[in-house]
């Protein structure tokens, strides 16, 4: 009998945790919203469940981009994804940025708001890149305080995304997933798991990508990113300019087997194809996810 209880418990824990996933339901399968596709989206209403808008593109006084976003928002759920929060910076937050972010969120009513677990500059300067952090307790504590500040200000949990990195620090005392877990514990924040970034970083830093997925607090994963990259032989650059490669699809299937159903989307930023091509690529994610979930059931 104790065995049976244990088995039952183990079976139900993941379900419970998925339910606990913040009561934010899965949005299904989405795409990054890109200017090249605005008109096609409005004219053809493609079979895409939701779109991810790049926050900074719409943090402008007015004009066409905001108008398009308003109209697309009328037809689709939208989430906001930023690149400039600089959650890991040792500089104080830019208050005007936070204010503009909140203003945009009030206008768009996104299902959620995300940014990257990185830093983007200090001394009032911006590098416009997602720079890596040293994985130490000091850094985790510093970031946790800042995540709490942002969550309090926005009045909602935020999602932090793991970035692709090309350098790691001699100062780091733990793995990236241990670092992420530490921040989650101290903030109750959510995660945007970029499966391609996991693949890229695992290649660049010689770790097992599955360890990463196994190591993060799985019930906190609210969204998944998929993308293509550029393999230069000894390292990979995260370019978002090509289709998702098979090993990343395999890793995605593995992630779904561990996480259950998660809102999934493809990021494409360069070498932009017609929207149709991306809608087709998204079908792969739909099928893989459905297959994995069917097998698990």
């Amino acid at each position: 009998m104790p065995m049976l209880i244990l088995t039952t418990y183990q079976t139900f824990t993941p379900l419970f945790e998925i339910y606990m996933r913040n009561n934010l339901p899965s949005l299904g399968f989405g795409l990054g919203l890109r200017t090249e596709h605005y008109n096609t989206i409005l004219e053809t209403k493609p079979k895409v469940d939701w779109f991810e808008a790049l926050s900074e593109n719409y943090m402008v006084p007015g004009g066409l981009p905001l108008n398009f976003l308003d109209r697309i928002r009328a037809d689709y759920p939208v989430v906001m994804h930023g690149v400039s929060l600089s959650i890991g910076s040792t500089e104080p937050f830019d208050q005007a940025y936070l204010k503009d972010l909140k203003k945009l969120a009030d206008r768009i009513q996104p299902a959620w708001i995300s940014d990257h677990l990185c830093w983007t500059g200090v001394h009032g300067q911006n590098i416009h890149d997602l720079l890596p952090l040293p994985y130490t307790e000091e850094t985790a504590k510093h970031i946790a305080e800042r995540v709490n500040t942002v969550q309090d200000y926005l009045g909602r949990q935020i999602l932090l995304e793991n970035v692709s990195s090309y350098a790691s620090y001699v100062d780091s005392t733990m793995t990236e997933w241990e670092f992420i877990s530490l921040i989650c514990e101290q903030t109750d924040c959510l995660l945007l798991l970029d499966v391609n970034n996991i693949y890229v970083s695992s290649y660049n830093h010689n770790f097992d990508a599955k360890d990463f997925i196994d190591g993060v607090p799985q019930h906190r994963v609210q969204q998944i990113h998929l993308a293509g990259h550029q393999n230069n032989g000894d390292y990979i650059i995260d370019t978002h300019d090509a289709p998702v490669i098979d090993p990343v699809w395999d890793l995605y299937s593995y992630a779904i087997s561990k996480l259950g159903e998660v809102s999934t989307m493809i990021e494409r930023d360069d070498n932009m194809p017609e929207l149709d091509v991306l809608v087709q690529e998204l079908q792969i994610a739909r099928h893989l996810s459905a297959n994995v979930l069917k097998e698990a059931a």
């Binding site: 900074e56 593109n57 943090m59 402008v60 006084p61 007015g62 004009g63 066409l64 981009p65 905001l66 108008n67 400039s84 600089s86 890991g88 910076s89 040792t90 830019d94 940025y97 830093w119 983007t120 500059g121 200090v122 001394h123 009032g124 300067q125 911006n126 590098i127 416009h128 890149d129 720079l131 952090l133 040293p134 130490t136 000091e138 850094t139 510093h142 090309y166 350098a167 790691s168 620090y169 001699v170 100062d171 660049n204 010689n206 000894d234 390292y235 650059i237």
Partner: protein, 264 residues
């Protein structure tokens, strides 16, 4: 300074100058696969490439005018001269006109082109305001017009060119062979605004510039007429001011009118 603050200061210094900042390399793990210097080099290059791309997006016809090689040189010098202080890459590039006035003084058309493209882009995502039409004014009795004062869309800007910058820009925009850059005998003023979500521009006379500036500052229609009387008789001034107002309305520049009545 905390460890983290120190690391970030050193990393950023390295990105600005990889020779002066070389001390930072020892902070990065150096493995057999990819050396620390090469790893940091990825960030060093990406910083510049990303910003050059952003500048190329902001200044497409300036890039076409200068050609890739010179544009990239200008952009790299710009990056060193003006490290970004903007959280949004959209606003980076605002100093390009001044930068070109200094670094490409022998080609003044470049700075003018930059100024034109930047101003177009500012109009493109300026604040949204309502647009008034001529019909909206129809309800106001003619005798009240002298007391009308106007508010304009924030996208409005006036720029000056001394070269055939706009003609060159138009040709480049249409992917045609541009005319040879040449200096005009006198400078020209251009009105830039937004209509139907697109940036617009047109030539504007100095007299209209004066009238528009007055109107933007809150002058009444009557005051604008009076100022035109310096150049022409009363009736002509009235007709000219009415024509200006009609074109401002047609261009969608006016977002609000109010009657300024002073108690007598």
């Amino acid at each position: 300074m905390s460890h983290l603050a120190n690391l970030q200061a050193e990393f950023q210094a390295y990105l600005m100058d990889d020779v002066k900042g070389a001390g930072f390399i020892k902070s990065v793990i150096d493995d057999k696969k990819v050396g620390a210097k090469k790893r940091l080099g990825i960030y060093f290059d990406a910083y510049r490439l990303r910003i050059i791309e952003a500048l190329a997006t902001a200044y497409p016809q300036l890039k076409a005018l200068l050609g890739d090689v010179l544009f990239n040189k200008v952009a790299r010098e710009y990056i060193d001269a003006y490290p970004s202080t903007y959280l949004n890459l959209r606003w980076y590039g605002s100093q390009m006109r001044g930068h070109l006035q200094e670094t490409l003084a022998q080609h003044p058309i470049a700075a003018e082109m930059a100024n034109f493209e930047w101003t177009l882009s500012l109009a493109f995502d300026a604040e949204d305001v309502p647009e008034l039409s001529l019909q909206d004014l129809a309800t106001i009795p003619p005798e009240s017009w002298v007391d009308l004062s106007f508010e304009f869309q924030p996208a409005i800007k006036i720029i000056q060119t001394s070269w055939n910058t706009i003609a060159v820009w138009q040709a480049l925009e249409a992917e045609e062979t541009p005319p040879k850059p040449k200096q005009e005998s006198i400078y020209q003023s251009w009105l830039i605004w937004r209509k139907n979500f697109n940036s617009q521009f047109r030539l504007i006379t100095e007299m209209e510039v004066t009238a528009l500036n007055m109107a933007v500052m809150g002058a009444t229609f009557g005051e604008i007429c009076a100022s035109l009387e310096v150049e022409m008789d009363e009736e002509q001034a009235m007709v000219t001011a009415a024509q200006y107002l009609a074109s401002w309305l047609e261009n969608g520049l006016v977002c609000k009118v109010s009657l300024i009545k002073f108690a007598s």
